[in-house]
Structures are given as C-alpha cells and as structure tokens.
C-alpha cells in the first residue's frame, strides 16, 4: 500500500476505469453511473481519501489484492446503529 502524503488538499480519484467518468467541474444534473458491483464479478476499483491511524492518505481498493477485504458502506459518522 502506498504511503501517500498527508495531502489535506489533494483529492482522490474515486472510481478507476470502467463506466465511471471524471466529474465535471460544475454539474447541474448528475449522470447516472452504472452499478457494476455484483457477486462473482471483479470488485470495481476506486481511490478514496481516508483516515488511517490518525493521519490522512489515499487508498485504492486494488492495493489490497492478495487479501480478503470487507468493504463496509454506512450512512454516516455520528449515526446510531
């Protein structure tokens, strides 16, 4: 996994390759992005900024190839469940 710098101002790329498109600078109506995640298929790769051990770094899902990964989405920090 790359030890990328703290980068409080750096942005992460989001979805990498596939159907996803770079978001235009201004966007009035958002284009629907195809859902590509399904069981038995490759997990869509992405890069996201993250809190890791108290610091910030960008993380790519593909950094974890060779390991089992549990990817957990949740509705928001400070929610109750």
């Amino acid at each position: 996994m790359p030890e990328s710098d703290d980068g409080c101002v750096s942005t992460a790329r989001g979805p990498i390759g596939g159907e996803a498109k770079a978001a235009p600078a201004r966007q009035v109506e958002r284009e629907a992005t195809a859902v590509t995640a399904r069981v038995g298929a490759a997990a869509p790769d992405f890069e996201a900024s993250a809190l890791v051990a108290g610091g910030f770094k960008n993380i790519r899902l593909s950094d974890y190839l060779g390991h089992w990964v549990v990817l957990c989405f949740y509705p928001g920090d400070f929610t109750f469940v």
């Binding site: 989001g14 298929a41 997990a43 996201a48 593909s62 190839l65 549990v70 928001g76 920090d77």
Partner: protein
C-alpha cells in the same frame, strides 16, 4: 462500525482487511474517531475509514441513496483475486451482524481451499459437501437442515 472494530482481531487472523466507507469527509472521520469511537473501542476504529464525498463509489456499488445523499449500509466481501463473493445491503435503521460476516468469510475460505461447498449455516468443523454427480439426490444421506441451525 464499532461492532466490526471489536472483532477486528478475529478478522485479521483470517487475513481480512476492513475498509469502511461513508460520504463524510476524512476530517469528520477524524473527529468522530476522537470524540466518540475511541470511547467505544479501545484505540478507536483500527481500520481505514474512507471518504466517498460525492457518492460516486457508493453509486458503482449500488448503495448510494441519491435522495438522502448518503451510502446505505452495504457490506461486500472481496476475495484475494478482487472478486466480490458476497454482498448484503440494508436500509439504515438496522445494523449488520458481525457473526454472520465471520461465518461467511470462513465458509468462502473453506470453499477456496478445498473445492468443497458449504451447506446452509455451515461452520468450521461441520460437514461440507463434495459436489459430484453421485451427490445429486443423495444430499439427504450426508446432511440434514438441522445441522445448519
């Protein structure tokens, strides 16, 4: 989140990496960790907390709720080849069950290691099945539903 964090050692022992994702910024993650999570789990959440601020990652995983602007509860189990083996998506009010996650990890790892298949509710040490033409119509000889409870 903290339920997964509390079982993190077991998941690491199974070579499972955990990544959590929400639409909050990494700055909010940091304050949540410091203000609340560290009071619920010693040391706080030990895995990376990812930020999906425009919901684009949630969108390709089919969990982004555009009306609410948040990612729904979605859990994806990805194998070492990068293939999704399991997914579970819940509306926000009900949390997930870490026991079932760990059971599924163990079952998928057993399948990967042995080529056997695991019946409903299988746990390590229980009978798994060798798929073959001979097994067709003969599962009743080796496995009963009560074993999966």
């Amino acid at each position: 989140m903290t339920a997964v964090a509390a079982r993190y050692a077991e998941l690491r022992a199974l070579d499972v990496e955990v990544l959590s994702v929400s639409t909050d910024s990494r700055f909010v993650h940091k304050i949540w960790q410091a203000d609340e999570l560290e009071r619920m789990v010693p040391g706080g959440v030990p895995f990376p907390m990812l930020s999906d601020q425009n919901g684009r990652i949630g969108e390709i995983y089919g969990v982004y709720d555009e009306a609410a602007g948040v990612d729904l509860r979605g859990r994806f189990l990805i194998d070492p080849d990068g293939v999704i083996q399991a997914m579970e998506v819940l509306t926000p009010a009900v949390g997930r069950n870490v026991d079932e996650l760990i059971r599924q990890v163990q079952a998928f790892q057993h399948v990967r290691a042995t080529g056997e298949v695991t019946p409903s509710g299988w746990r390590p040490g229980q009978t798994a099945l060798h798929p073959s033409p001979d097994l067709a119509g003969a599962v009743w000889k080796v496995w009963r539903p009560q074993q999966g409870q």
